[in-house]
């Protein structure tokens, strides 16, 4: 992509703001080093962080490459229906993770999501999940890095390889040195910088189109028309901008895809596992749900503003692709100063995504592959060192995959879509295993394997043209649903035929076996009513419903 038309007019002070941010990020990494003595310090921040920090890191880890740019693009392309990705496609799953699943994760003291599978089922299930997660993380880190480099190339005119190496080097330094604390602290910082960059774009964009009512009038005149302003109204059929029926939105997006991503993706769950006690761990995803409720204001609204103000937006290639909605608004509306902050926020969001992949990878590689299968029983310092090597390796492989992605950007999109399909069978295996005590270890392994193969097969048949779906989105709903059913059927068939695990081995891992004390490590302040995870979760769900009302 030649970015000549997107080039921003950055001046020395804008670069000073960007440089100040990079220096701060590296400083946080070095300062976090003092707090690392054990592997638990490096991989889980010593399980010591307060809930507001882990909660903002939780939402930030998701505000990566495809999120800001992609959701603004969806806003321009599909209109208000994009809010489904937030209000039904994220918030319910985050609340469910906090209220229902976190007691099992945090209470069993597992150090990763794959480790839960090892304790609940057996080692083959664990190895299968650990390897697929590790591979997915380095590949997706490469995709994030490539997307970061594309933006730096287009906006700042940096050569692609310089942008890739600079972005990777910064992430490498602060995670290798500062461990998960370095990553999480920077994610919290990134969260605020991202907002500081996006809010001015949104505000000036709204001023330009004459406020919210002016924007609504203009959208009615645009190619989206009235349908671009409604989230549910036209979902009785698939004749709406998103091409999705409400059943697909509720069960496909809202249940299988969203629960699969938010509740079993270790790059997210790791943030909650680093919280200082059970109460803070449970509140982590729920606190994250609140910013998630309002983030569409700074992604979907700019997308709509771009749709009505940028002539010709929506071209299949070139500078006027939907993906450039936010960069185009920044170019047209922001004067130097705020422009520097906005560019910094955009780069911060790309680094946040990659850092989450890398810190998830190094933990799973060290604890779940190296310690469990390659070198057992070494002193803790040894694994701490392995974790640092794994970080370096992840970033180097990420640079490699970024260059591959540069050649085959479509293939990399497929890889990312492919791995999103792995989430649905994983979630199904988890949810059945957590609530059905009888489910056996062998059933767990075969459910996960066959469910994954079923999703994969559906995807490949669709790509090969053997079976037909209306859109990629519809395929992903169906693929996820088929995977879910496969897991359930295999579990029900195999469980009666194989030997169950003993109850003592399932304590704290399965619902109804005891072993979890929600109040065990409670701190004095945590008993306050406004820190109740259940209450906070219910309020978040209620807000998600209320927010839908004006855009029904």
């Amino acid at each position: 992509m030649d970015g000549g038309g997107l080039r921003l007019n950055m001046n020395a002070l804008d670069y000073a703001l960007l440089g100040l941010y990079f220096v701060t990020v590296l400083g946080v990494g070095f300062a976090a080093r003092r707090a690392i003595r054990t592997s638990v310090d490096f991989f889980l921040s010593g399980r010591s962080l307060p809930a507001w920090v882990t909660g903002l890191a939780f939402v930030s880890a998701n505000l990566g490459a495809l999120e800001i740019i992609g959701m603004a693009a969806n806003g321009a392309q599909y209109g208000v229906m994009t809010v489904h990705y937030y209000w039904i496609g994220a918030v319910p799953a985050m609340v469910f993770l906090g209220i229902v699943m976190m007691p099992f994760y945090y209470g069993s003291k597992v150090r990763s999501v794959p480790e839960y599978l090892r304790l609940r089922f057996n080692r083959p299930t664990h190895l299968l999940n650990a390897i697929s997660f590790a591979v997915a993380q380095v590949l997706i880190a490469g995709v994030n890095l490539y997307a970061l480099a594309l933006v730096m190339q287009a906006l700042l005119g940096w050569p692609l390889w310089v942008a890739i190496v600079v972005g990777a080097a910064i992430v490498l330094v602060y995670i290798t040195i500062g461990g998960l604390s370095g990553a999480i602290y920077n994610e919290v910082l990134q969260f605020f910088v991202i907002l500081a960059g996006l809010i001015p774009v949104t505000v000036i964009g709204l001023v330009k189109v004459g406020g919210v009512s002016g924007l609504m009038d203009a959208v009615r005149e645009s190619k989206l028309g009235e349908a671009g302003l409604h989230a549910w109204q036209d979902t009785g059929s698939t004749a709406n901008p998103l091409g999705a029926h409400w059943i697909g939105i509720v069960f496909g997006l809202g249940f299988v895809l969203s629960f699969g991503y938010w509740t079993t993706n270790f790059a997210e769950v790791q943030r909650a596992l680093s919280a200082k006690n059970m109460s803070a761990a449970r509140r982590t995803p729920i606190i994250a749900a609140y910013p998630k409720l309002v983030i569409p204001a700074v992604t979907v609204i700019p997308g709509l503003v771009a749709l009505v103000t940028v002539q010709g937006l929506g071209a299949p290639s070139g500078d006027l692709q939907y993906n450039n909605a936010i960069p185009l608004l920044m170019r047209d509306l922001l004067p130097n100063g705020v422009l520097g902050v906005a560019v910094t926020g955009l780069l911060a969001s790309f680094m946040a995504g990659m850092a989450a992949n890398v810190s998830g990878f190094n933990t799973v590689f060290t604890y779940d592959i190296w310690q469990a299968y390659v070198r057992r029983g070494r002193p803790d310092d040894y694994y701490l060192r392995i974790g640092r090597y794994a970080t370096v390796a992840a970033v180097v492989i990420g640079i490699g995959t970024a260059f591959i992605a540069a050649g085959f950007s479509n293939i990399m999109n497929y890889i990312q879509a492919l791995f999103s399909l792995f989430n649905a069978p994983l979630f199904a295996t988890f949810i059945i295993g957590m609530f059905w005590k009888r489910m056996t270890a062998l059933a767990g392994f075969w459910s996960l394997l066959l469910g994954t193969l079923a999703a994969l097969l559906t995807y490949l048949l669709y790509k090969g043209g053997v079976i037909h779906f209306n859109s990629d989105l519809e395929e992903s709903f169906w693929g996820a649903g088929i995977a879910f059913v496969t897991v359930a059927v295999v579990a029900v068939i195999l469980t009666p035929l194989t030997a169950p695990k003993r109850d003592e081995d399932l304590r704290g891992l399965v619902y109804g076996t005891g072993g979890i004390d929600l109040k065990a490590d409670v701190l004095a302040g945590d008993t306050a009513w406004y820190r109740s995870p259940v209450l906070l979760g219910v309020i978040a769900l209620a807000l998600a419903v209320v927010l839908y009302i004006p855009v029904f």
């Binding site: 703001l17 903002l56 701190l523």
Partner: protein, 116 residues
């Protein structure tokens, strides 16, 4: 920690738990200080740019003095973070076997609800 209803144990997990006694996490600094400092610096720089904005720059932003306003907003946010840390400093770990508590005991409200 509670021994009445001990969950199932695994050697690798237990070993990691034991290592946690050596944890240095209590030495982690307070992120509110860094956020506060960065935003105060951003606020000052951008506010000053806003004061000296030319008419062309104001016109580009649809007549809004966006540098001035967002500079002041960032400055206020940075100062609020520093104030929060000053009023509710991080608690030092109370007892050796207890976990280090880095943030304030109050930790659900300000950071998450005020923003956005």
């Amino acid at each position: 920690m509670d021994n009445r209803s001990e969950p199932a144990r695994d050697p690798l997990v237990t070993a990691a738990e034991a290592e946690q006694r050596r944890s240095a996490a209590a030495r982690l600094f307070d992120i509110r200080r860094v956020i506060g400092a960065l935003f105060v610096a951003y606020g000052i720089i951008v506010t000053l740019m806003g004061v000296f904005d030319s008419q062309a720059e104001i016109d580009k932003a649809e007549g809004v003095r966006i540098n001035l306003w967002s500079g002041l907003a960032m400055l206020a946010f940075g100062l609020l973070m520093l104030l929060w840390q000053w009023l509710r400093p991080a608690e030092p770990p109370a007892e050796p076997e207890e976990r280090g508590v880095i943030g304030p005991p109050e930790d659900s409200g300000p950071g998450s609800s005020k923003i956005g």
